[in-house]
C-alpha cells in the first residue's frame, strides 16, 4: 500500500511538472509571436496533465478542496479573463497616456485631475444624477400604476400587460431612432420645433422614452408581487370593511416592501448606465450657454456616453479610461448599498 502511494505520488508529480512545462512553453511561444501550430495542443495537453496530476495527488486532507478547485476552474478562468484582468488593465491604463494602441509614459493622476477640471464632464455627472432620480421615481410610479391596472381584473388585461411590456423587447438603439423620427417628424407639428434640439426639452424627451421602454418591465415585477399577496389577507381586509384605498395603502403596499426595494435598485442602476437611447436619440447634443463660465455643447450627454465620446470621438483613451474607473466606483457603491439593504430585508422577512 505504501509503495503504491509513493508510486502514485511520483506519478502525479511528474504529471504536474510536465503540465507546467508544457503550459509555460506554450505561453512563451505565444508571447514571442511564434507561428508554430504546436502551441495550441501543447497548451491543452499541458492543462489536462496538470489537472490529472493534481487530482491524483495522494492526500486525504486536501483531496476535497482540490476537486472543488478543479471543478470551479473553467468558470474562474473565464471570469478572470473576461472580467478581472480587463478591470485591472483598465485601471492601469488610466494612469498612462494610452492611445488605444500604445502608451509612452506613466502620467500618474494627471488624467483624474484633468477630468475634474473639465466642466463638460461635471455637467455630465450632474445631469446623470438628475436623470437617475427622476427616473427612479417616475418609472416606479408609472410601473406600479400600470401593475395595479393589470391586476384589476378588467377584461383584456392580458393583452395590455403584453403590450406594456413590448417596448422592452425593442433594442435601445432602434427605439432611439424610432423616437427620433416621432419627435422630429410627427410631434413637430404640435411643438413647432423638435423637442430634441433644445437641451431642456431633449432631456425631457430622453426621460419619456426611457419610461416608455422600462416601465413595462418593472410593471411585470410589480404584477408578480401583487399576485403573490395571499388571498386570505385580502379577504380578511375585505371582511373587516376596508375600502379599495385602505386595502392599497394598508395591506398591498406594505406587503410589497421587498419588491419596491428590488425595483428601486433595478431602475437606479440601469438609469445610471443609460447609453443606447441617449446615443440614438440625441447623441449628447444640446447647448448650455453658461455653465461654470463655459459654453457647453454636450447638454444631454450622460456619464456613459461622455466616457465613450472622450475615448472614441476625442481620441483620448486614457482620459476616457480614468472616467470609466470613476463610473465603476460609483456603480460599485450603489450595488454594495443595494446588497446590504436587500440582505437586511430578507432577514427581517
Amino acid at each position: 500500500m505504501k509503495t503504491n502511494t509513493a508510486g502514485q505520488k511520483m506519478c502525479s508529480l511528474i504529471l504536474l511538472a510536465a503540465g507546467i512545462i508544457l503550459l509555460v512553453g506554450a505561453l512563451i511561444m505565444d508571447f514571442s509571436g511564434s507561428q508554430s501550430t504546436l502551441r495550441g495542443p501543447m497548451l491543452v495537453i499541458g492543462a489536462v496533465s496538470f489537472f490529472v496530476g493534481l487530482y491524483f495527488f495522494p492526500t486525504l486532507k486536501h483531496h476535497r478542496q482540490i476537486v472543488y478547485v478543479i471543478f470551479l476552474f473553467p468558470l474562474l478562468f473565464t471570469f478572470a479573463v473576461t472580467v478581472i484582468i480587463p478591470l485591472l488593465l483598465g485601471i492601469c491604463y488610466s494612469f498612462t497616456d494610452w492611445t488605444g494602441i500604445k502608451f509612452t509614459q506613466v502620467v500618474g493622476f494627471a488624467n483624474y485631475i484633468a477630468m475634474f477640471k473639465d466642466p463638460a464632464f461635471i455637467w455630465s455627472i450632474l445631469i446623470t444624477f438628475i436623470f437617475v432620480v427622476m427616473n427612479m421615481i417616475l418609472v416606479n410610479v408609472t410601473a406600479f400604476l400600470l401593475a395595479l391596472l393589470c391586476t384589476s381584473g378588467l377584461p383584456g388585461v392580458g393583452f395590455f400587460r403584453a403590450s406594456y411590456f413590448l417596448p422592452n423587447l425593442i433594442g435601445g438603439i432602434v427605439l432611439g431612432y424610432i423616437w427620433q423620427f416621432v419627435f422630429s417628424n410627427v410631434l413637430i407639428n404640435i411643438t413647432k420645433i423638435s423637442w430634441l434640439v433644445q437641451t431642456k426639452t431633449a432631456l425631457a424627451a430622453i426621460v419619456v422614452v426611457y419610461i416608455w421602454q422600462y416601465a413595462g418591465y418593472i410593471m411585470l415585477i410589480y404584477v408578480t408581487g401583487l399576485t403573490q399577496i395571499p388571498g386570505d389577507v385580502l379577504e380578511a381586509a375585505k371582511i373587516d370593511g376596508a375600502n379599495a384605498r385602505q386595502t392599497l395603502f394598508e395591506v398591498k403596499i406594505p406587503m410589497l416592501a421587498s419588491t419596491f426595494t428590488i425595483c428601486t435598485f433595478l431602475t437606479l442602476t440601469s438609469a445610471f448606465k443609460q447609453f443606447d437611447v441617449n446615443m440614438a436619440l440625441t447623441n449628447g447634443t444640446g447647448s448650455v450657454p453658461n455653465f461654470m463660465g463655459n459654453y457647453l455643447s454636450n447638454g444631454t450627454q450622460m456619464l456613459a456616453l461622455n466616457i465613450y465620446n472622450t475615448a472614441i470621438a476625442k481620441n483620448s483613451y486614457a482620459l476616457g479610461q480614468a472616467k470609466a474607473v470613476l463610473f465603476f466606483i460609483i456603480l460599485a457603491c450603489v450595488s454594495l448599498v443595494q446588497v446590504r439593504i436587500s440582505n437586511k430585508r430578507e432577514v427581517e422577512l
Binding site: 505561453l27 430634441l196 459654453y295 455643447s297
Partner: protein
C-alpha cells in the same frame, strides 16, 4: 445499470465540455496576451504586430471607409487576383462605424489589415512608426495629393472631393442668375433674394438646402462648412488660419464674422423643415428633386444623386450641377478640393504585396474601374478617364484654372465638429445665438476651451 449509463453519459458530457473549454481557452489566452504586448515601448510594437491568419503570404486585406463603393472595389480586387494570383479581400465599413476605433480593436486582437483608410492628421498620428513610407513608388510622383508626414509619404490618395456651394445650374439660368457673378457677399445676397422672389415659378421650396442638425450632421457644419473659414480664397499651401487655430484655438474675428454673416444668410433662406432637424437624405433628395437651388454639401452627393435619388433626379430633368465659391468676402474665388482620406500600408510581412496592389490601382486598369465605375475623380495626373459624375466637370474646371484651396480642417483637433462646433451652428440657426457677432464670440470662446483641454 441504468444509473451507471446515465453517470457515464454525464461524465462524458463533462469531459467533452472541459475539452471544449480548453480549446476555447487557447484563443482567449491570445487575446489576453495582446494588451500585454502593448506594454512594450512604441518602437517594438510594430515589429510584433504581424497578423497570424492574414499574413501568411496568401493575400492582403484592405479596410475601405467608403461603403458606397464596396462593390466596385471588390470588382477591382477580383480582377487583380485574376491577373496576379494575389487574393485581395475588401472589408468595407460605413454607416456610423468609427473606423479608427475598430482598427484599434483589430490591432489589439492581432488582426490588422494590410491596407487601411486614414482620414486626418490625428488618424495618421495614431499609427506613427507603423506605416510604410511609399515615397519610392511610381505613383507617388504622379500626384500632388499623397499624404506626407515625417514618416514619409504614408497615404495613397484614391479620389478627390470638393467643398463648394453646389448649385442647380438649370434653375439659376431660369431665374436669370449667373453663378459666375457670385464673387462676394453682396452678389450672393442678391442672388438669394432674386431666387427667393421667384420661388413659386421655379418650383422651389427654399433657396438653399442648409441643415444644421447637430446629432448626425455635425460633420457637415462643424467640419466642412467651417473649412471655408479656414481655407476659402487661400493658396493651397497657405495654412495661416489653420495655424492660428492650432495655436490654442484662436480665430481671426473679422474674417470669421464675415463668414458668420454668410451662415446667417443661409439660416434665413433655408427650408425651415430641414434647417434644425432634417437629415442628410432629406437634404440631398430635396436638391436632387429640384426643390433647392443651392445645397451646402460637397461633390460626394453626386454619387447619391445618380444612385439612391436617381428617380427624383431624373424627374427634375437630370439638371446640370456646378459649384460656386463660398464667397463670404470679396475676392474669394476658390473651392476646396482634396483627397478626403487616404489608404495607408501597415508595415508587416505583406507590405510588398500591398504596395504592388496600390501601384496597380494607380495604373490604367485600376483607374478605369475606380473612375468609371466607382465615380472617383482621379488624383493622378496621368489618368485620362473622366468620371460620369454631375460635379466632375466643375471640379476639373476649377482645377485647371488653379482656383482651388486645400482642406486644412483635417488638422482640426479630434472631435471638434462633434463635440463643439456642430451644436453652435444649430444654436445659431435656432436663434438662441442671435446674430453674426454673437456667433463669432461664442465660437471664439468654445474653440479656446476645446483647445485648452
Amino acid at each position: 445499470m441504468k444509473k451507471k449509463v446515465l453517470a457515464l453519459i454525464m461524465a462524458g458530457t463533462m469531459i467533452f465540455g472541459l475539452a471544449a473549454c480548453g480549446e476555447a481557452a487557447a484563443p482567449v489566452a491570445d487575446a489576453g496576451a495582446a494588451p500585454a504586448d502593448d506594454a512594450a515601448p512604441a518602437g517594438d510594437a510594430s515589429g510584433e504586430a504581424a497578423a497570424p491568419a492574414a499574413s501568411s503570404g496568401e493575400g492582403i486585406r484592405l479596410v475601405n471607409g467608403k461603403i458606397e463603393v464596396d462593390a466596385m472595389l471588390k470588382e477591382a480586387a477580383e480582377k487583380y487576383t485574376q491577373e496576379t494570383g494575389v487574393v485581395v479581400t475588401i472589408e468595407s465599413m460605413g454607416g456610423g462605424v468609427n473606423i479608427q476605433d475598430t482598427l484599434k480593436g483589430y490591432y489589439q486582437a492581432d488582426n490588422m489589415p494590410d491596407i487601411f483608410v486614414c482620414g486626418s492628421d490625428a488618424d495618421f498620428d495614431n499609427w506613427k512608426g507603423m506605416l510604410v513610407d511609399m515615397s519610392g513608388e511610381a505613383w507617388a510622383s504622379d500626384t500632388d495629393a499623397a499624404y506626407k508626414n515625417d514618416g514619409g509619404t504614408v497615404g495613397f490618395p484614391y479620389t478627390t472631393e470638393a467643398i463648394g456651394l453646389a448649385y442647380n445650374a438649370d434653375i439659376l439660368e431660369k431665374a436669370g442668375v449667373d453663378p459666375k457673378s457670385i464673387t462676394g457677399p453682396d452678389a450672393m445676397k442678391k442672388a438669394f433674394e432674386t431666387l427667393d422672389s421667384k420661388k413659386d415659378e421655379l418650383g422651389l421650396t427654399a433657396v438653399i438646402g442648409w441643415c444644421t442638425e447637430p446629432k448626425d450632421l455635425y460633420w457637415s457644419t462643424g467640419s466642412h462648412s467651417f473649412a471655408n473659414y479656414i481655407d476659402s480664397g487661400l493658396a493651397r499651401d497657405d495654412t495661416k488660419y489653420a495655424d492660428m487655430l492650432a495655436d490654442g484655438g484662436k480665430i481671426d474675428e473679422t474674417r470669421f464674422e464675415h463668414y458668420a454673416e454668410m451662415i446667417g444668410l443661409f439660416n434665413q433662406y433655408s427650408d425651415p423643415a430641414l434647417l434644425t432637424s432634417g437629415t442628410y437624405d432629406q437634404q440631398i433628395l430635396g436638391f436632387a428633386s429640384g426643390k433647392y437651388a443651392f445645397v451646402t454639401q460637397g461633390s460626394w452627393i453626386g454619387a447619391t444623386m445618380t444612385s439612391d435619388d436617381a428617380d427624383a433626379y431624373k424627374e427634375a430633368g437630370n439638371f446640370k450641377c456646378g459649384m460656386a465659391p463660398y464667397a463670404f468676402e470679396d475676392g474669394i474665388d476658390t473651392i476646396l478640393t482634396n483627397s478626403p482620406s487616404w489608404w495607408a500600408v501597415f508595415d508587416n510581412d505583406n507590405k510588398a504585396d500591398s504596395l504592388a496592389f496600390l501601384q496597380w490601382l494607380a495604373g490604367e486598369e485600376g483607374q478605369e474601374i475606380l473612375v468609371k465605375k466607382a465615380g472617383f475623380i482621379s488624383p493622378f495626373k496621368s489618368c485620362t478617364f473622366i468620371a460620369d459624375d454631375p460635379f466632375a466637370e466643375t471640379i476639373s474646371e476649377y482645377t485647371a484654372a488653379g482656383k482651388t484651396s486645400s482642406w486644412h480642417w483635417l488638422k482640426n483637433k479630434s472631435g471638434l465638429d462633434q463635440n463643439a462646433l456642430g451644436q453652435l451652428y444649430a444654436d445659431y440657426a435656432l436663434g438662441s445665438i442671435p446674430d453674426a457677432k454673437a456667433f463669432t464670440s461664442t465660437v471664439a470662446q468654445v474653440l479656446q476651451q476645446y483647445y485648452a483641454e
